[in-house]
Protein backbone atom coordinates (compact mmCIF):
# COMPACT_ATOMS: atom_id res chain seq x y z
CA UNK A 1 0.00 0.00 0.00
CA UNK A 2 1.29 3.38 -0.98
CA UNK A 3 2.28 5.87 1.66
CA UNK A 4 -0.69 8.03 2.50
CA UNK A 5 -0.35 11.69 3.34
CA UNK A 6 -1.91 13.02 6.50
CA UNK A 7 -4.31 14.90 4.34
CA UNK A 8 -5.44 11.70 2.67
CA UNK A 9 -5.85 10.02 6.00
CA UNK A 10 -8.43 12.57 6.98
CA UNK A 11 -9.99 13.50 3.67
CA UNK A 12 -9.85 10.22 1.81
CA UNK A 13 -7.90 8.78 -1.08
CA UNK A 14 -7.01 11.12 -3.87
CA UNK A 15 -7.34 14.34 -1.91
CA UNK A 16 -3.68 14.95 -2.69
CA UNK A 17 -1.01 16.85 -0.86
CA UNK A 18 -2.05 20.42 -1.67
CA UNK A 19 -2.87 22.79 1.13
CA UNK A 20 -5.98 24.83 1.55
CA UNK A 21 -7.21 27.43 3.98
CA UNK A 22 -9.17 26.23 6.94
CA UNK A 23 -12.21 28.03 8.30
CA UNK A 24 -12.33 28.05 12.08
CA UNK A 25 -15.27 29.31 14.03
CA UNK A 26 -14.54 30.95 17.39
CA UNK A 27 -17.64 31.45 19.43
CA UNK A 28 -20.30 32.68 19.88
CA UNK A 29 -19.85 30.54 22.96
CA UNK A 30 -16.24 29.66 23.35
CA UNK A 31 -14.78 28.77 26.73
CA UNK A 32 -11.83 31.11 26.25
CA UNK A 33 -13.88 34.08 25.15
CA UNK A 34 -15.23 36.24 27.93
CA UNK A 35 -17.98 37.69 25.82
CA UNK A 36 -20.43 36.45 23.29
CA UNK A 37 -18.97 37.17 19.91
CA UNK A 38 -18.19 35.12 16.86
CA UNK A 39 -14.92 35.27 14.98
CA UNK A 40 -14.86 33.38 11.73
CA UNK A 41 -11.16 32.97 11.06
CA UNK A 42 -9.58 31.70 7.89
CA UNK A 43 -6.34 29.94 8.69
CA UNK A 44 -3.32 29.10 6.63
CA UNK A 45 -1.60 26.60 8.89
CA UNK A 46 -1.52 28.53 12.15
CA UNK A 47 -1.62 31.97 10.61
CA UNK A 48 -4.84 33.93 10.54
CA UNK A 49 -5.38 35.09 6.98
CA UNK A 50 -8.76 36.68 7.37
CA UNK A 51 -11.01 37.32 10.29
CA UNK A 52 -14.67 38.13 10.18
CA UNK A 53 -16.14 39.41 13.44
CA UNK A 54 -19.84 39.02 14.10
CA UNK A 55 -21.55 40.72 17.01
CA UNK A 56 -25.07 41.26 18.25
CA UNK A 57 -25.58 38.18 20.39
CA UNK A 58 -26.32 40.27 23.47
CA UNK A 59 -28.56 42.84 21.82
CA UNK A 60 -31.32 43.85 24.22
CA UNK A 61 -32.74 46.89 22.42
CA UNK A 62 -31.35 49.37 24.93
CA UNK A 63 -31.97 52.36 22.67
CA UNK A 64 -35.50 51.29 21.83
CA UNK A 65 -36.39 50.63 25.47
CA UNK A 66 -35.15 54.09 26.46
CA UNK A 67 -37.67 55.69 24.11
CA UNK A 68 -40.56 53.94 25.81
CA UNK A 69 -40.26 55.11 29.39
CA UNK A 70 -39.62 58.44 31.09
CA UNK A 71 -36.09 59.83 31.29
CA UNK A 72 -35.36 58.37 34.71
CA UNK A 73 -36.29 54.80 33.74
CA UNK A 74 -33.35 54.60 31.39
CA UNK A 75 -30.90 54.80 34.29
CA UNK A 76 -31.24 51.12 35.33
CA UNK A 77 -30.77 50.16 31.67
CA UNK A 78 -27.49 52.04 31.55
CA UNK A 79 -26.23 49.86 34.43
CA UNK A 80 -26.37 46.97 32.02
CA UNK A 81 -24.29 48.57 29.29
CA UNK A 82 -20.79 48.22 30.61
CA UNK A 83 -21.54 46.00 33.56
CA UNK A 84 -18.01 46.13 34.92
CA UNK A 85 -18.06 49.90 35.37
CA UNK A 86 -21.77 50.74 35.45
CA UNK A 87 -21.32 53.96 37.41
CA UNK A 88 -19.70 55.70 34.47
CA UNK A 89 -22.65 54.83 32.23
CA UNK A 90 -25.11 56.11 34.82
CA UNK A 91 -23.36 59.42 35.11
CA UNK A 92 -22.77 59.71 31.37
CA UNK A 93 -26.45 59.33 30.59
CA UNK A 94 -27.47 61.65 33.42
CA UNK A 95 -25.01 64.26 32.20
CA UNK A 96 -26.40 64.13 28.67
CA UNK A 97 -29.90 64.81 30.01
CA UNK A 98 -28.53 67.53 32.28
CA UNK A 99 -26.93 69.14 29.27
CA UNK A 100 -30.31 69.12 27.52
CA UNK A 101 -31.87 70.77 30.56
CA UNK A 102 -29.01 73.17 31.14
CA UNK A 103 -28.56 72.17 34.78
CA UNK A 104 -25.44 72.85 36.82
CA UNK A 105 -24.42 70.25 39.35
CA UNK A 106 -23.39 70.99 42.88
CA UNK A 107 -19.67 70.89 43.42
CA UNK A 108 -19.88 68.02 45.86
CA UNK A 109 -21.83 65.97 43.34
CA UNK A 110 -19.21 66.62 40.67
CA UNK A 111 -16.54 65.27 42.98
CA UNK A 112 -18.64 62.26 43.93
CA UNK A 113 -19.09 61.44 40.26
CA UNK A 114 -15.36 61.71 39.69
CA UNK A 115 -14.56 59.51 42.69
CA UNK A 116 -17.08 56.81 41.79
CA UNK A 117 -16.13 56.84 38.11
CA UNK A 118 -12.47 56.36 38.89
CA UNK A 119 -13.19 53.48 41.27
CA UNK A 120 -15.20 51.87 38.47
CA UNK A 121 -12.41 52.45 36.00
CA UNK A 122 -9.98 50.58 38.24
CA UNK A 123 -12.48 47.69 38.50
CA UNK A 124 -12.74 47.57 34.74
CA UNK A 125 -8.98 47.57 34.15
CA UNK A 126 -8.46 44.96 36.85
CA UNK A 127 -10.97 42.67 35.18
CA UNK A 128 -9.47 43.22 31.76
CA UNK A 129 -5.88 42.53 32.78
CA UNK A 130 -6.84 39.67 35.06
CA UNK A 131 -8.87 37.94 32.38
CA UNK A 132 -6.33 38.41 29.62
CA UNK A 133 -3.54 37.15 31.87
CA UNK A 134 -5.62 34.11 32.71
CA UNK A 135 -6.02 33.38 29.03
CA UNK A 136 -2.24 33.22 28.81
CA UNK A 137 -2.18 30.75 31.68
CA UNK A 138 -1.51 33.15 34.54
CA UNK A 139 -4.44 32.17 36.72
CA UNK A 140 -2.71 33.59 39.80
CA UNK A 141 -2.91 37.08 38.36
CA UNK A 142 -6.59 36.65 37.70
CA UNK A 143 -7.23 35.61 41.29
CA UNK A 144 -5.17 38.49 42.68
CA UNK A 145 -6.92 41.01 40.50
CA UNK A 146 -10.37 39.72 41.28
CA UNK A 147 -9.42 39.94 44.94
CA UNK A 148 -8.53 43.61 44.46
CA UNK A 149 -11.72 44.18 42.51
CA UNK A 150 -13.62 42.71 45.41
CA UNK A 151 -12.27 45.42 47.73
CA UNK A 152 -13.39 48.06 45.28
CA UNK A 153 -16.78 46.51 44.70
CA UNK A 154 -17.30 46.57 48.44
CA UNK A 155 -16.80 50.32 48.25
CA UNK A 156 -19.34 50.54 45.45
CA UNK A 157 -21.73 48.44 47.49
CA UNK A 158 -21.22 50.71 50.45
CA UNK A 159 -22.23 53.78 48.47
CA UNK A 160 -24.91 52.43 46.16
CA UNK A 161 -26.28 49.41 47.97
CA UNK A 162 -25.54 47.10 45.05
CA UNK A 163 -22.48 45.66 43.39
CA UNK A 164 -23.43 45.57 39.76
CA UNK A 165 -26.84 47.00 39.03
CA UNK A 166 -26.18 50.11 41.01
CA UNK A 167 -28.51 52.77 39.49
CA UNK A 168 -26.75 55.41 41.54
CA UNK A 169 -26.77 58.29 39.07
CA UNK A 170 -29.70 60.66 38.93
CA UNK A 171 -30.47 63.43 36.53
CA UNK A 172 -29.32 66.46 38.48
CA UNK A 173 -27.17 64.59 40.95
CA UNK A 174 -26.74 61.22 42.57
CA UNK A 175 -29.04 59.01 44.59
CA UNK A 176 -27.47 59.70 47.96
CA UNK A 177 -24.48 61.25 49.58
CA UNK A 178 -21.39 59.20 50.39
CA UNK A 179 -21.69 57.17 53.58
CA UNK A 180 -19.84 58.14 56.72
CA UNK A 181 -16.20 57.21 56.92
CA UNK A 182 -16.05 56.45 53.22
CA UNK A 183 -12.73 58.19 52.62
CA UNK A 184 -11.05 55.97 55.18
CA UNK A 185 -12.50 52.84 53.62
CA UNK A 186 -11.27 53.95 50.21
CA UNK A 187 -7.82 54.49 51.62
CA UNK A 188 -7.80 50.99 53.00
CA UNK A 189 -9.04 49.45 49.77
CA UNK A 190 -6.48 51.37 47.74
CA UNK A 191 -3.70 50.14 49.96
CA UNK A 192 -4.76 46.58 49.19
CA UNK A 193 -5.16 47.35 45.50
CA UNK A 194 -1.70 48.88 45.32
CA UNK A 195 -0.24 45.78 46.88
CA UNK A 196 -1.98 43.65 44.30
CA UNK A 197 -0.76 45.87 41.47
CA UNK A 198 2.77 45.60 42.84
CA UNK A 199 2.50 41.83 42.90
CA UNK A 200 1.11 41.74 39.39
CA UNK A 201 3.89 44.00 38.19
CA UNK A 202 6.41 41.57 39.62
CA UNK A 203 4.55 38.61 38.12
CA UNK A 204 3.93 39.95 34.64
CA UNK A 205 5.74 43.09 33.59
CA UNK A 206 9.17 41.48 33.33
CA UNK A 207 7.93 37.95 32.79
CA UNK A 208 9.63 36.34 29.82
CA UNK A 209 6.63 34.25 28.79
CA UNK A 210 4.23 37.14 29.15
CA UNK A 211 6.44 39.47 27.12
CA UNK A 212 6.93 36.87 24.40
CA UNK A 213 3.21 36.43 24.08
CA UNK A 214 2.31 40.13 24.24
CA UNK A 215 5.01 42.23 22.58
CA UNK A 216 4.37 42.81 18.91
CA UNK A 217 1.07 40.94 19.01
CA UNK A 218 -2.21 42.51 17.98
CA UNK A 219 -0.54 45.61 16.62
CA UNK A 220 -2.70 48.35 15.18
CA UNK A 221 -0.81 51.42 13.99
CA UNK A 222 -1.66 54.84 15.40
CA UNK A 223 -3.04 56.03 12.05
CA UNK A 224 -5.36 53.09 11.81
CA UNK A 225 -6.41 53.37 15.43
CA UNK A 226 -7.46 56.97 14.80
CA UNK A 227 -9.14 56.11 11.49
CA UNK A 228 -11.20 53.51 13.31
CA UNK A 229 -12.16 56.12 15.95
CA UNK A 230 -10.72 53.95 18.68
CA UNK A 231 -10.34 55.83 21.95
CA UNK A 232 -9.30 54.97 25.47
CA UNK A 233 -6.40 52.70 26.45
CA UNK A 234 -6.01 51.32 22.93
CA UNK A 235 -5.45 54.76 21.45
CA UNK A 236 -3.11 55.78 24.26
CA UNK A 237 -1.16 52.57 23.79
CA UNK A 238 -0.57 53.71 20.21
CA UNK A 239 1.03 56.93 21.43
CA UNK A 240 -1.90 59.33 21.06
CA UNK A 241 -2.61 61.01 24.39
CA UNK A 242 -6.31 61.64 23.87
CA UNK A 243 -8.44 61.40 26.96
CA UNK A 244 -11.85 63.09 27.22
CA UNK A 245 -11.11 63.89 30.86
CA UNK A 246 -8.14 65.97 29.77
CA UNK A 247 -9.18 67.21 26.31
CA UNK A 248 -12.67 68.38 27.23
CA UNK A 249 -12.93 68.22 31.01
CA UNK A 250 -16.31 67.62 32.59
CA UNK A 251 -17.48 67.39 36.23
CA UNK A 252 -14.46 68.10 38.42
CA UNK A 253 -11.76 66.69 36.14
CA UNK A 254 -10.31 70.14 35.48
CA UNK A 255 -9.64 70.49 39.22
CA UNK A 256 -7.82 67.22 39.89
CA UNK A 257 -4.30 66.48 38.80
CA UNK A 258 -3.51 63.41 36.80
CA UNK A 259 -1.34 62.24 33.97
CA UNK A 260 -2.47 60.60 30.76
CA UNK A 261 -0.13 57.62 30.37
CA UNK A 262 0.84 56.71 26.82
CA UNK A 263 2.94 54.00 25.21
CA UNK A 264 4.41 53.66 21.76
CA UNK A 265 4.07 49.96 21.10
CA UNK A 266 0.44 49.83 19.92
CA UNK A 267 0.50 46.11 20.79
CA UNK A 268 -1.03 44.05 23.56
CA UNK A 269 1.87 44.70 25.89
CA UNK A 270 1.56 48.47 25.49
CA UNK A 271 -2.15 48.19 26.26
CA UNK A 272 -1.35 46.25 29.40
CA UNK A 273 1.16 48.88 30.52
CA UNK A 274 -1.26 51.73 29.82
CA UNK A 275 -3.99 50.08 31.85
CA UNK A 276 -1.61 49.41 34.74
CA UNK A 277 -0.49 53.05 34.74
CA UNK A 278 -4.05 54.32 34.47
CA UNK A 279 -5.11 52.47 37.58
CA UNK A 280 -2.44 54.29 39.54
CA UNK A 281 -3.61 57.61 38.06
CA UNK A 282 -7.22 56.81 38.95
CA UNK A 283 -6.25 56.22 42.54
CA UNK A 284 -4.37 59.49 42.50
CA UNK A 285 -7.48 61.28 41.20
CA UNK A 286 -9.65 59.78 43.91
CA UNK A 287 -7.20 60.76 46.64
CA UNK A 288 -6.95 64.27 45.27
CA UNK A 289 -10.75 64.49 45.01
CA UNK A 290 -11.16 63.45 48.63
CA UNK A 291 -8.78 66.21 49.66
CA UNK A 292 -10.80 68.81 47.76
CA UNK A 293 -14.38 67.61 48.06
CA UNK A 294 -16.51 70.32 49.65
CA UNK A 295 -19.27 69.73 52.15
CA UNK A 296 -17.35 67.95 54.85
CA UNK A 297 -18.86 65.12 56.84
CA UNK A 298 -22.54 64.32 56.58
CA UNK A 299 -25.12 64.91 59.28
CA UNK A 300 -23.39 67.85 60.91
CA UNK A 301 -26.03 70.50 60.40
CA UNK A 302 -28.91 68.68 61.99
CA UNK A 303 -31.03 70.37 64.55
CA UNK A 304 -33.45 68.62 66.80
CA UNK A 305 -34.24 64.97 67.22
CA UNK A 306 -35.17 62.83 64.23
CA UNK A 307 -38.74 61.47 64.29
CA UNK A 308 -40.43 58.58 62.61
CA UNK A 309 -41.80 59.24 59.09
CA UNK A 310 -45.27 58.02 60.11
CA UNK A 311 -45.41 60.44 63.03
CA UNK A 312 -44.17 63.14 60.70
CA UNK A 313 -47.02 62.60 58.27
CA UNK A 314 -49.56 62.44 61.13
CA UNK A 315 -48.39 65.79 62.47
CA UNK A 316 -48.72 67.26 59.01
CA UNK A 317 -52.26 65.91 58.64
CA UNK A 318 -53.24 67.42 61.98
CA UNK A 319 -52.13 70.77 60.69
CA UNK A 320 -49.22 71.00 63.13
CA UNK A 321 -46.91 72.10 60.37
CA UNK A 322 -45.20 74.85 62.29
CA UNK A 323 -41.49 74.25 62.03
CA UNK A 324 -42.16 70.74 60.78
CA UNK A 325 -39.89 71.12 57.79
CA UNK A 326 -36.92 71.72 60.04
CA UNK A 327 -37.33 68.43 61.89
CA UNK A 328 -35.34 65.60 60.35
CA UNK A 329 -36.88 62.17 60.03
CA UNK A 330 -35.30 58.83 60.70
CA UNK A 331 -34.74 57.22 57.37
CA UNK A 332 -34.41 53.54 56.77
CA UNK A 333 -30.88 52.32 56.09
CA UNK A 334 -31.89 51.94 52.45
CA UNK A 335 -32.29 55.69 52.23
CA UNK A 336 -28.98 56.43 53.91
CA UNK A 337 -27.51 59.67 52.70
CA UNK A 338 -30.87 60.96 51.48
CA UNK A 339 -31.86 63.24 54.33
CA UNK A 340 -32.39 66.82 53.35
CA UNK A 341 -28.96 68.16 54.20
CA UNK A 342 -27.22 65.37 52.35
CA UNK A 343 -29.55 65.36 49.37
CA UNK A 344 -29.27 69.09 48.82
CA UNK A 345 -25.53 68.85 48.86
CA UNK A 346 -25.35 66.31 46.06
CA UNK A 347 -28.28 67.31 43.87
CA UNK A 348 -28.89 70.37 41.77
CA UNK A 349 -31.39 72.85 43.21
CA UNK A 350 -33.77 72.34 40.33
CA UNK A 351 -37.34 71.30 41.07
CA UNK A 352 -37.94 70.28 37.45
CA UNK A 353 -35.59 67.36 37.87
CA UNK A 354 -34.62 66.45 41.40
CA UNK A 355 -36.97 64.65 43.78
CA UNK A 356 -37.49 66.64 46.98
CA UNK A 357 -36.01 65.23 50.20
CA UNK A 358 -38.31 62.94 52.12
CA UNK A 359 -38.85 65.51 54.90
CA UNK A 360 -40.30 67.93 52.38
CA UNK A 361 -42.41 65.29 50.65
CA UNK A 362 -43.95 64.15 53.93
CA UNK A 363 -44.15 67.52 55.59
CA UNK A 364 -45.41 70.00 53.04
CA UNK A 365 -47.98 70.09 50.29
CA UNK A 366 -45.49 71.75 47.93
CA UNK A 367 -43.04 68.95 48.48
CA UNK A 368 -45.71 66.33 47.89
CA UNK A 369 -46.81 68.03 44.68
CA UNK A 370 -43.24 68.33 43.56
CA UNK A 371 -42.74 64.65 44.25
CA UNK A 372 -45.75 63.60 42.19
CA UNK A 373 -45.05 66.03 39.39
CA UNK A 374 -41.80 64.19 38.89
CA UNK A 375 -43.20 60.69 39.18
CA UNK A 376 -46.62 60.81 37.51
CA UNK A 377 -46.99 59.43 34.05
CA UNK A 378 -46.86 62.19 31.48
CA UNK A 379 -45.09 64.61 33.84
CA UNK A 380 -41.62 63.91 35.10
CA UNK A 381 -38.46 65.38 33.70
CA UNK A 382 -39.27 67.34 30.56
CA UNK A 383 -36.26 68.83 28.81
CA UNK A 384 -36.90 71.48 26.14
CA UNK A 385 -36.94 70.43 22.49
CA UNK A 386 -33.42 69.84 21.31
CA UNK A 387 -30.51 67.46 21.23
CA UNK A 388 -27.26 67.04 23.11
CA UNK A 389 -24.19 64.84 22.87
CA UNK A 390 -22.21 64.32 26.04
CA UNK A 391 -18.97 62.33 25.96
CA UNK A 392 -17.31 60.95 29.05
CA UNK A 393 -14.17 58.85 29.33
CA UNK A 394 -15.42 55.35 29.95
CA UNK A 395 -13.05 52.58 30.95
CA UNK A 396 -12.67 51.55 27.31
CA UNK A 397 -12.72 54.96 25.74
CA UNK A 398 -15.12 57.68 24.80
CA UNK A 399 -18.62 56.84 25.98
CA UNK A 400 -21.07 59.28 24.45
CA UNK A 401 -24.78 59.71 24.91
CA UNK A 402 -26.73 61.53 22.23
CA UNK A 403 -30.19 62.40 23.48
CA UNK A 404 -32.94 63.98 21.38
CA UNK A 405 -35.89 65.54 23.18
CA UNK A 406 -39.28 66.42 21.72
CA UNK A 407 -40.30 68.29 24.85
CA UNK A 408 -42.23 65.40 26.37
CA UNK A 409 -41.31 63.36 29.43
CA UNK A 410 -39.82 60.55 27.34
CA UNK A 411 -36.59 60.78 25.42
CA UNK A 412 -37.33 60.83 21.71
CA UNK A 413 -34.09 59.09 20.94
CA UNK A 414 -31.18 57.90 23.06
CA UNK A 415 -28.04 56.88 21.28
CA UNK A 416 -25.17 55.32 23.17
CA UNK A 417 -21.82 55.57 21.48
CA UNK A 418 -20.22 52.41 22.81
CA UNK A 419 -16.47 52.64 23.37
CA UNK A 420 -15.92 48.99 22.53
CA UNK A 421 -17.56 48.97 19.14
CA UNK A 422 -14.71 50.66 17.21
CA UNK A 423 -12.01 48.28 18.54
CA UNK A 424 -14.19 45.32 17.60
CA UNK A 425 -14.69 46.78 14.13
CA UNK A 426 -10.91 46.89 13.82
CA UNK A 427 -10.31 43.53 15.50
CA UNK A 428 -9.80 41.74 12.21
CA UNK A 429 -6.94 44.15 11.44
CA UNK A 430 -5.24 43.16 14.70
CA UNK A 431 -5.71 39.45 14.10
CA UNK A 432 -4.80 39.13 10.45
CA UNK A 433 -1.24 38.00 9.94
CA UNK A 434 -0.98 36.79 13.52
CA UNK A 435 -1.04 33.31 14.93
CA UNK A 436 -4.22 31.52 15.84
CA UNK A 437 -3.02 31.22 19.45
CA UNK A 438 -2.90 35.02 19.65
CA UNK A 439 -6.54 35.48 18.77
CA UNK A 440 -7.73 35.10 22.33
CA UNK A 441 -5.07 37.31 24.02
CA UNK A 442 -5.66 40.06 21.46
CA UNK A 443 -9.37 39.78 21.96
CA UNK A 444 -8.72 40.05 25.70
CA UNK A 445 -6.63 43.19 25.30
CA UNK A 446 -9.51 44.91 23.51
CA UNK A 447 -11.62 44.36 26.64
CA UNK A 448 -14.87 43.84 24.85
CA UNK A 449 -17.91 44.15 27.11
CA UNK A 450 -20.90 42.50 25.49
CA UNK A 451 -23.54 44.59 27.21
CA UNK A 452 -22.07 47.78 25.92
CA UNK A 453 -21.12 46.52 22.49
CA UNK A 454 -24.47 45.04 21.55
CA UNK A 455 -26.65 47.26 23.73
Amino acid sequence: MAQRTTREMYLGEGSGTGSRHLQVNFGPQHPAMHGIIRILAELDGETVVRGDVEIGYLHRAFEKECEVGPYATAIPFTDRLNYVSPLINNFGYASAVEKLLGIDLTERCEYIRVIMSEISRICDHLTCIGASAMELGAVTVFLYMIKAREFLWELVEDVTGARLTISYGRVGGVKADLPEGFAAKVQKAFKETREVLDEVHRLLTGNRIFIDRMVGVGVLSAEETVAYSITGPLLRAAGVGYDVRRAQPYWAYDRVEFEVPTQKGADNYARYLVRMAEMEQSMRIVERAFADIPGGPINVDFEGRPIDPGAYVDRGKQGKTDGLLLIPITLSPNLQGQNRAALERVNAADKRVVLPPKETTYGSIEGLMNHFMLLMDGYGIRPPVGEAYFPVEGANGELGFYVVSDGSDRPYRVRCRPPCLPPLAALHRMLEGGMVADVVPTFGSVNMIGGELDR
Partner: protein, 165 residues
Protein backbone atom coordinates in the same frame (compact mmCIF):
# COMPACT_ATOMS: atom_id res chain seq x y z
CA UNK B 1 -11.51 76.27 16.64
CA UNK B 2 -14.73 77.65 18.03
CA UNK B 3 -17.83 75.78 16.89
CA UNK B 4 -19.44 78.78 15.24
CA UNK B 5 -16.33 79.34 13.12
CA UNK B 6 -16.39 75.72 11.97
CA UNK B 7 -19.96 76.26 10.81
CA UNK B 8 -18.91 79.53 9.12
CA UNK B 9 -16.13 77.71 7.29
CA UNK B 10 -18.60 75.11 6.06
CA UNK B 11 -20.99 77.82 4.93
CA UNK B 12 -18.21 79.59 3.01
CA UNK B 13 -17.30 76.41 1.23
CA UNK B 14 -20.72 74.91 0.55
CA UNK B 15 -23.03 77.94 0.59
CA UNK B 16 -26.52 76.70 -0.25
CA UNK B 17 -25.73 73.05 0.37
CA UNK B 18 -25.79 73.87 4.09
CA UNK B 19 -29.52 73.74 4.63
CA UNK B 20 -29.60 74.82 8.23
CA UNK B 21 -27.26 75.54 11.09
CA UNK B 22 -27.80 75.74 14.77
CA UNK B 23 -26.13 75.66 18.12
CA UNK B 24 -27.59 74.41 21.34
CA UNK B 25 -25.83 73.66 24.59
CA UNK B 26 -22.44 74.47 23.04
CA UNK B 27 -22.94 71.82 20.34
CA UNK B 28 -22.78 73.19 16.82
CA UNK B 29 -24.79 71.53 14.11
CA UNK B 30 -24.98 71.89 10.35
CA UNK B 31 -27.64 70.18 8.26
CA UNK B 32 -26.11 69.34 4.91
CA UNK B 33 -27.89 68.63 1.66
CA UNK B 34 -27.64 64.97 0.78
CA UNK B 35 -26.00 65.66 -2.59
CA UNK B 36 -23.12 67.45 -0.88
CA UNK B 37 -22.65 65.27 2.19
CA UNK B 38 -19.81 63.20 0.82
CA UNK B 39 -17.91 66.35 -0.16
CA UNK B 40 -18.71 68.04 3.13
CA UNK B 41 -17.36 65.09 5.11
CA UNK B 42 -14.25 65.00 2.99
CA UNK B 43 -13.77 68.73 3.46
CA UNK B 44 -14.14 68.32 7.22
CA UNK B 45 -11.55 65.58 7.24
CA UNK B 46 -8.94 67.07 4.91
CA UNK B 47 -9.16 70.82 5.49
CA UNK B 48 -6.14 71.59 7.67
CA UNK B 49 -8.08 74.08 9.77
CA UNK B 50 -10.80 71.57 10.54
CA UNK B 51 -8.98 68.20 10.21
CA UNK B 52 -11.71 66.09 11.76
CA UNK B 53 -9.75 62.85 11.84
CA UNK B 54 -12.26 60.93 13.94
CA UNK B 55 -15.79 59.97 13.10
CA UNK B 56 -16.82 59.65 16.72
CA UNK B 57 -20.31 58.50 16.01
CA UNK B 58 -22.68 57.92 13.16
CA UNK B 59 -26.32 57.29 13.88
CA UNK B 60 -29.78 58.22 12.71
CA UNK B 61 -33.01 59.57 14.14
CA UNK B 62 -36.48 58.71 12.90
CA UNK B 63 -38.60 61.88 13.15
CA UNK B 64 -41.86 60.16 12.19
CA UNK B 65 -43.63 61.07 15.42
CA UNK B 66 -41.77 64.25 16.29
CA UNK B 67 -44.30 67.06 16.76
CA UNK B 68 -43.95 69.90 14.26
CA UNK B 69 -41.71 68.09 11.78
CA UNK B 70 -44.35 66.60 9.52
CA UNK B 71 -43.15 68.47 6.43
CA UNK B 72 -39.47 67.60 6.93
CA UNK B 73 -37.66 64.44 5.79
CA UNK B 74 -38.48 61.46 7.97
CA UNK B 75 -34.93 60.44 8.87
CA UNK B 76 -31.81 62.28 9.77
CA UNK B 77 -28.40 60.64 9.64
CA UNK B 78 -26.20 62.23 12.30
CA UNK B 79 -22.39 62.42 12.14
CA UNK B 80 -20.42 63.43 15.21
CA UNK B 81 -16.92 64.46 14.24
CA UNK B 82 -13.94 65.12 16.47
CA UNK B 83 -10.54 66.54 15.64
CA UNK B 84 -7.56 65.29 17.62
CA UNK B 85 -5.13 68.07 16.59
CA UNK B 86 -7.61 70.92 17.19
CA UNK B 87 -9.71 69.37 19.97
CA UNK B 88 -13.03 70.52 18.57
CA UNK B 89 -16.28 68.81 17.67
CA UNK B 90 -19.06 69.34 15.19
CA UNK B 91 -22.29 67.61 14.32
CA UNK B 92 -23.40 67.16 10.72
CA UNK B 93 -26.85 65.98 9.79
CA UNK B 94 -28.43 64.85 6.57
CA UNK B 95 -32.15 64.69 5.97
CA UNK B 96 -33.30 61.45 4.32
CA UNK B 97 -36.74 60.84 2.84
CA UNK B 98 -38.48 57.59 3.60
CA UNK B 99 -39.06 56.54 -0.01
CA UNK B 100 -35.46 57.27 -1.00
CA UNK B 101 -33.51 56.25 2.08
CA UNK B 102 -30.01 56.26 0.65
CA UNK B 103 -26.95 58.21 1.80
CA UNK B 104 -23.46 58.08 0.26
CA UNK B 105 -21.10 56.01 2.38
CA UNK B 106 -18.23 57.43 4.41
CA UNK B 107 -16.22 54.19 4.49
CA UNK B 108 -13.58 55.65 2.18
CA UNK B 109 -12.92 58.45 4.65
CA UNK B 110 -13.14 56.63 7.96
CA UNK B 111 -13.10 52.82 8.00
CA UNK B 112 -15.15 52.83 11.21
CA UNK B 113 -18.09 54.06 9.14
CA UNK B 114 -18.33 50.49 7.89
CA UNK B 115 -19.82 49.18 11.14
CA UNK B 116 -21.67 52.34 12.09
CA UNK B 117 -23.42 52.34 8.72
CA UNK B 118 -24.23 48.67 9.03
CA UNK B 119 -25.87 49.43 12.35
CA UNK B 120 -27.90 52.30 10.88
CA UNK B 121 -29.03 50.04 8.03
CA UNK B 122 -29.91 47.37 10.55
CA UNK B 123 -31.83 49.65 12.89
CA UNK B 124 -33.35 52.21 10.52
CA UNK B 125 -33.26 50.69 7.06
CA UNK B 126 -31.24 53.53 5.58
CA UNK B 127 -28.96 52.32 2.79
CA UNK B 128 -25.45 53.59 2.27
CA UNK B 129 -24.51 53.93 -1.34
CA UNK B 130 -21.10 52.43 -2.07
CA UNK B 131 -20.84 50.50 1.19
CA UNK B 132 -18.72 47.37 0.62
CA UNK B 133 -20.74 45.01 2.78
CA UNK B 134 -24.07 46.34 3.98
CA UNK B 135 -25.15 43.48 6.23
CA UNK B 136 -27.09 43.75 9.46
CA UNK B 137 -24.78 44.33 12.41
CA UNK B 138 -26.74 43.51 15.56
CA UNK B 139 -29.82 41.64 14.38
CA UNK B 140 -29.75 38.42 12.40
CA UNK B 141 -30.16 38.28 8.65
CA UNK B 142 -33.65 36.81 8.76
CA UNK B 143 -34.99 39.56 11.00
CA UNK B 144 -37.82 41.48 9.37
CA UNK B 145 -38.08 45.23 9.66
CA UNK B 146 -35.88 47.83 11.29
CA UNK B 147 -36.41 47.98 15.04
CA UNK B 148 -35.48 51.58 15.82
CA UNK B 149 -38.00 52.97 13.35
CA UNK B 150 -40.79 54.67 15.23
CA UNK B 151 -43.43 52.55 13.49
CA UNK B 152 -41.81 49.32 14.71
CA UNK B 153 -43.84 48.47 17.83
CA UNK B 154 -41.88 47.80 20.99
CA UNK B 155 -43.87 44.67 21.79
CA UNK B 156 -43.57 43.01 18.40
CA UNK B 157 -42.00 39.58 18.67
CA UNK B 158 -40.35 37.59 15.94
CA UNK B 159 -39.82 33.86 16.27
CA UNK B 160 -36.21 32.93 16.81
CA UNK B 161 -34.63 31.19 13.91
CA UNK B 162 -33.07 27.77 14.10
CA UNK B 163 -29.43 27.06 13.31
CA UNK B 164 -28.42 27.62 9.73
CA UNK B 165 -27.17 24.74 7.54
Amino acid sequence: MDGSRIIERLRERFATAIVETGSQWRDHTAVVDRAAVREALEFCKTNPELSFDMLTDLTAVDYLKFPGREDRPRFEVVYHLYSLPHNHRVRLKVGVEEDDAVVPTAVGLWPIANWFEREVWDMFGIRFDGHPNLRRLLMYEEFEGHPLRKDYPINRRQPLIGPRN
